[in-house]
Amino acid sequence: MEWLSLDLLPPLLTGLKTTLLLTFYSIIVALCCAFLAGIGRLSRSPILRGIITAYVEIFRGTSLLVQLFWIYFALPMLLDIRLSAMTAAVLALGLNYGAYGSEVVRSSILAVPKGQIEASIALNMTPYQRMRRIVLPQAWAMMLPGFGNLQIELLKGTSLVYLITLMDVTYQGITLRSYDISRTPAIFAWLLILYFIVAYALTLIIRLAERKATAGRG
């Protein structure tokens, strides 16, 4: 395949570095939000539950791209601060997918058999010990498939940051296109291939984690 020429690859790979970094940071923020919100939604305090429910429903009820624009353009004006494009993107992606992830966390914790919790109470474990030693390790194995899907969605969501001028792989592709329009098909073919490779790598990582989480369990 002559048209899929390799000289397009170096500039695209510099952009891919930004995409990977952004994906990595966003996944970490999303995981933190998902666990905090997912566990917090099971708390007894109605105020805490209300705040967390509002966060989850607002971020699930509006568009990721609208959130990205709001955080990048509107929030700095409202609070009179300056956010870099990277910070805004990590915030938007992390908060958005954290809201979806919190549902995965919550439903997995609720799916841990009641007898396990009763047994840990009978063993006089503190609530913290119960969560850390009994509930979360079992729930974690159930969360992984859901997290895997969200991870791929998040990766696809990173392509939108080009619209707030963050120089990710999509941005590099569009820039290359403006130098030589005749190579448009090759550039977009490369973009699709690169995204697919990263998505596949993420799937493999989740599969590895799944195997580790269920090791030694029937």
């Binding site: 429903e57 607002i58 699930r60 009820g61 509006t62 568009s63 990721l64 791209l65 609208v66 959130q67 624009f69 709001w70 353009f73 509107a74 004006m77 409202l78 009179d80 791929i152 990766l155 696809k156 969501g157 990173t158 392509s159 939108l160 080009y162 619209l163 999509t170 592709g173 569009i174 296109r177 329009i181 005749s182 448009t184 098909p185 977009f188 973009l191 699709l192 995204y195 697919f196 998505a199 596949y200």
Partner: protein, 224 residues
């Protein structure tokens, strides 16, 4: 920093484009629904020559961003095949193709949930293949998937701002234009967020209620 007067003045401009956003959502959804079914059937095909390529292509579409796929429709198609689509047509086609890969999974799970006895019974009754599908399998497998389909309709509604990247004039695009005219982005983007929430949240509640009802009915069916 929030100007109520200004917010009120730009609201009509935003409300005006809601029909476009909704039209794009529904048109994309219909394409996805129509395309999803043959994909689901091809994935279940007993011939590896049919099922394997279809699975490979749908996995590829699912793992790559909609934005890039839209760019392919708008920039690559005219250049390599000479097909020029209007932004709106490219937008609904792109969304339709992207989400048909998701809906095919929904159909497939619905079809796979049909008890084996139903297939055997239709063979015993000497039903033709078409009759088995149209009279026995599809009528039973589609209704339980309706709540999930509803969820995807909402997901597609929230995906419409992506179409602004290929210059479809929907809510976000309008907010950008309005905001850039006055450099007051706060009101414009906040209103768009509120509009999205007001439209999608009640729909989400409706879908959840539907889901609960379906589950109850399923349980009753099992008890019988």
């Amino acid at each position: 920093m929030w100007d109520w007067q200004y917010a009120k003045s730009i609201l009509p401009k935003l409300l005006e484009v809601i029909p476009t956003t909704l039209a794009a959502t529904f048109a994309g959804f219909i394409i996805a629904c129509l395309l999803g079914l043959p994909i689901a059937l091809a994935k279940r095909s007993s011939s590896k020559w049919i099922s394997f390529p279809v699975i490979a292509v749908t996995e590829f579409i699912r793992s790559t961003p909609l934005l890039i796929q839209l760019f392919v429709l708008v920039f690559v198609l005219p250049q390599s095949l000479g097909i020029i689509l209007s932004p709106f047509l490219a937008g609904i086609l792109g969304m339709g193709i992207h989400y048909s890969t998701y809906l095919s999974e929904v159909y497939r799970s619905g079809i796979d949930a049909i008890p084996k006895g139903q297939w055997e019974a239709s063979i015993a009754l000497n039903f033709s293949k078409t009759r088995t599908w149209t009279r026995i399998v599809l009528p039973q497998s589609i209704p339980p998937t309706i709540p999930v389909m509803g969820n995807y309709l909402i997901v597609m509604f929230k995906e419409t701002p992506t179409l602004s990247a290929i210059t479809v004039v929907e809510l976000l695009m309008t907010a950008k234009v309005v905001g850039s005219a006055s450099f007051k982005y706060v009101e414009a983007f906040t209103l768009v967020g509120v509009i999205f929430f007001l439209l999608s949240y009640p729909s989400a509640l409706l879908v959840r209620a539907l889901e609960r009802r379906m589950k109850r009915r399923e349980r009753r069916g099992l008890a019988r």
